[in-house]
Symmetry: C2
Subunit: 120 residues, 2 copies
DNA sequence: TCCTTGAATTGACGTTCATCGAATCAGGCG
DNA sequence: CGCCTGATTCGATGAACGTCAATTCAAGGA
C-alpha cells in the first residue's frame, strides 16, 4: 500500500522563503505539506514515528498514544501518507509507518533564514 | 498595532521532531504556526515580505500581487500576525509588515532531520 | 472453513475556514 | 472641518476539515 512517493512530495521545493518570492505553484505545493502538519494529532503522529526505535512505528502503538478512535488515527495517517511525509508498510497483521526524511529536510530548508543551503 | 510578540510564538518550541515525541501542548502550539502557513496565499505573503528590500513590505504592494480583494489580504495578514510570524507597523498612511526570523528559524530547527541544533 | 484481531473505508454531523461586499477606522490634505 | 485614500473589521456564505459509529478489508490461527 502506497509504497512510492507521491509526486507532490518530490518536487517540493524551492529556495528559502526569505530568498525570493514563491511562485503560485510553489506556494500551492508547499501549502499541501504544511496543511498536513497543521494538526496537533498529525504532528504528534509524525514525531512518534520519526523518533521511534528503528525509525518506524506500528499503528497499534500510535493508536494507544491518543484518546481517539481507530478510524480517526487511520484518517490522519492517510493525510500524512498522501502528502508524502510518511509511508505505510504492511507486515503480516500489522502496518508500520516511517517518515520520509528528505521531505522534512526540504521543508526545513525552505524555512531557513540564514543563507545556508541544506543539501538533502 | 500589535508591536509585541504573541506568546504563542516565543516558546515554540522543542527538540526536532525526529529526536523525541512532542507533548500534547507542544503539538498544539506548533500546529498554530503550521496552520498559519497552510495556505498558498499566506505562504506567498510571507515570502513576499521576507524577501522584500529592507525586510519589509507595505500592504499596498502585497495586495497588488494577488487576484484577491483587500479585506481578504487583510484577513490573511491578521492570521500571520496573530500566529507571531509577522508584525505590522503603521507609518503614516501605509502599514508595513516584516517577518520574525527567529520564529521561522525555530520551525526550521524543529523539522531538522540531522542532529544539528540551530541556535536562534 | 470460520472466527478473531488489526487497520482502512464509508457516511454523517458539527465546526472551522477562505472569500467577498459593505461598513468602519486612521491619517493626510485641501 | 470635510474629503480622500489605504487598511481593517463585520456579517454572510459555501467549501473543507476532524471526529465518530458502522461497515469492510486483510491476514492468521483454531
Amino acid at each position: 500500500m502506497s509504497k512510492q512517493l507521491p509526486i507532490v512530495a518530490m518536487n517540493a521545493c524551492c529556495a528559502p522563503l526569505s530568498r525570493e518570492p514563491l511562485t503560485q505553484d510553489q506556494a500551492v505545493e508547499l501549502s499541501h505539506l504544511f496543511k498536513a502538519m497543521a494538526d496537533p494529532v498529525r504532528l504528534r503522529l509524525l514525531s512518534l514515528i520519526a523518533s521511534h526505535d528503528g525509525g518506524e512505528a506500528c499503528v497499534c502503538d500510535l493508536t494507544d498514544a491518543f484518546d481517539l478512535t481507530g478510524p480517526t488515527i487511520s484518517h490522519h495517517l492517510k493525510v500524512l501518507r498522501e502528502s508524502g511525509l510518511i509511508t505505510g508498510d504492511r507486515r503480516g497483521t500489522w502496518v508500520y509507518y516511517r517518515v520520509h526524511p528528505e521531505v522534512l529536510a526540504r521543508l526545513s530548508a525552505v524555512l531557513t533564514t540564514t543563507g545556508e543551503a541544506v543539501t538533502a
